[in-house]
Symmetry: C2
Subunit: 405 residues, 2 copies
């Protein structure tokens, strides 16, 4: 088998952890597998570099920021290759550029355009364990260093796995895998053995932070099987892969929540075409990502109320933009609430099993939890509720959908 | 004018120092000069990375070591470019690769083969201040990262100055310039206004550590004028340039000393051709650099005594090699002394003024300092003496050659 193993910041946090990674890598190689290792920066290093940049400039340039930040992964890849060689296995460290990872020119959040992977394949053919600096690539032509945004090493690993047609991409982190919900809230939360890409996407974007969303999208597109597991033990982890028959029998896979939510409502918006477009264009232009959107015609039939949610960290900026547009459109007042959270029920089984949404609403109502907004997709139902009820809602939903095992 | 400014580790040691560098750079640009900045890693960073590597592997690979170590200068170049931009000047950070610095494949002590410098020239033409990561280059073809050895950023700066045909290369450090001797030993030591490349080479290789030897050789070859000065004040510094008429009037420019010396003597070596070659080949093969060599035919005319000096740090290894070869050659015993030092008188004026050596020997004798070995070049006389007399010898020679002003 050809296996890509990605180790996050806590897994390479110090000399001892890097040696432990080398041990795991060489054990995998000993079983006759080809191994490509992708590493993050040592835990805390990236934040330290960002802190330095912020002390030096109020608005450091993106191109130079990428040159700065990419150094952390170079350090870890060199050290990890040394640790593997110290165990008697030939290893070769490659930077993003050397691995042939070509991105677009959008510094600090670049998108991978292609991976040549020639040097990876050549090194593997030479019997080497290849260690690649995650989170980074280069632009075509000038070969300026780019970074892929927070959590970008997950994406590096999945993209490399696709490029070299690896049989498996293992993502090592400090948790055992993907859980039915946050074990800090529900003690009975179970680790999932398997989960589909779609479910993982919903769980990841809803706040289950084990895997970066873009990496799951990439894995889905190229059908790369991922295993999320801990580098601190030998537990089996969670397989993230294409949906199979087996999975469809499970109606609900997990309960996610997100406390980083704020809701903005514009009341009495004149009901004319193009109004919503004008508002959300302005918000997109301000680089604010909108999550849920709900619009209702008001009782008089002549105006509408528009509500939407954004990340709490963006709420002030979003409020200011919305107030400007509301005035321009002749709408009524603008309200903002940030004492809310989003609770979601996720599962591919919903496609074939009806009644999940009704059961969710009923359960919340039964515990006197008021639903402020609702949003649904094929495999997910999300409700905005009062922030203070978050833990209660997660617990009762986890119980009612039979996830506590 | 086009000026290359190189800032060493203490000059970029922290956020405040980097901001001070940016101020100096922008002031130079304000006067209408084009500026290319070359930076070292922040003081202590390279040692920290070496320490990490040593904790991970007893013998870290050279190629990975270079990838590791080169990250320090990338960090400083990005931060320095940010600091310059924060002062309102457009700046561009370039890695060694992006600056077009091509080296041979000898990792950890690579030699520069060529510098394209296209991107440097383009950025300058675009009105930018260019900030280049020192100490590093890449191999041709595979573009693997290489480093130039300790003090390599000096070499980067001089080579870049030659490539872009700069008018001046300023080397900023934590001392005011080149002194007639170590001010810690002789309070009256004077800063030199000017010194020739040849003299600087003798002073540098003899222990005056302000400029890396290879960078001076490079500057001499391409006739790059260097100014050594402090980044902590606005003093004028020392110009290192081609010898001019003015300089020839100064017989002695400085007194150097080197306490890192050990002397090995092989007594009664059979006086046959090829014997010395055999010995020094073996020592070179062990990667030991030999400094002085003296050979005398002994009184019986049938054998010779060979003495040579090496760095104290290499003395045990050199002794072992010498003992093996001595046995093989049928020589007598091998002695080693490491309680010695080398004191040298340097000056281009010696070429035209006789009597410097005689005066040196006479002065040392007058203070009862025994001379153990002598070595001379066109512009230098060196004596090996007892270690304990080093400071005394430097002081009296500084006085007798009129350097105290």
């Amino acid at each position: 088998m050809l296996i890509v193993q990605k180790y996050g910041g806590t897994s390479v946090a110090n000399v001892e952890r890097i040696k432990a990674v080398a041990e795991r890598v060489t054990k995998t190689a000993e079983k006759g597998n080809g191994v490509v290792v992708v590493v993050s920066a040592m835990a805390g290093e990236t934040d330290k570099l960002i802190e330095l940049a912020c002390q030096i400039s109020p608005s450091p340039g993106d191109r130079e920021m990428d040159m700065l930040l990419s150094s952390g992964e170079r350090v870890t890849s060199a050290l990890t290759a040394m640790a593997i060689e110290a165990r008697g296995y030939p290893a070769k460290a490659l930077t993003g550029r050397q691995a042939g990872i070509i991105t677009n020119k959008v510094h600090t959040r670049a998108k991978i355009e292609k991976i040549s992977g020639d040097r990876i394949r050549k090194a593997l053919a030479d019997g080497k364990i290849v260690v690649i600096a995650g989170f980074q690539g280069v632009t075509e032509g000038e070969a300026d260093v780019t970074t892929l945004g927070r959590g970008g090493s997950d994406l590096s690993a999945v993209a490399i796995a696709a490029a070299v047609e690896a049989d498996l991409c293992e993502i090592y982190t400090d948790v055992d895998g993907v859980y039915t919900t946050d074990p800090n809230i529900v003690a009975e939360a179970r680790k999932l053995d398997k989960i589909s890409y779609e479910e993982m996407l919903e769980l990841a974007s809803l706040g289950a932070k084990v895997l970066q969303t873009r990496s799951v999208e990439f894995a889905k597109k190229y059908n790369v099987p991922i295993v999320v597991r801990s580098s601190f033990n030998d537990n089996a982890g969670t397989l993230v892969a294409e949906e199979d028959k087996d999975m469809e029998n499970v109606v609900v896979s997990g309960i996610a929540y997100d406390k980083n939510q704020a809701k903005i409502t514009v009341v009495k918006v004149p009901d004319k075409p193009g109004i919503a477009a004008r508002l959300f264009e302005a918000i997109a232009f301000a680089n604010i990502v909108v999550d849920m959107i709900v619009q209702n015609i008001s009782s008089d039939g002549k105006s509408a109320d528009i509500s939407f949610t954004v990340a709490k960290t963006d709420s002030k900026k979003a409020l200011a933009v919305t107030e400007t547009i509301a005035k321009e459109l002749g709408a009524g007042r603008v309200d903002m609430r940030d004492d809310i959270s989003k609770v979601s029920v996720v599962g591919v089984g919903m496609r074939t099993h009806s009644g999940v949404a009704a059961r969710m609403f009923e359960t919340l109502a039964g515990h006197n939890i008021n639903i402020i907004m609702i949003s649904t997709s094929e495999i997910k139902v999300s409700c905005i509720i009062d922030l203070k009820f978050t833990e209660l809602a997660v617990r009762v939903l986890h119980e009612i959908f039979g996830l506590s095992g």
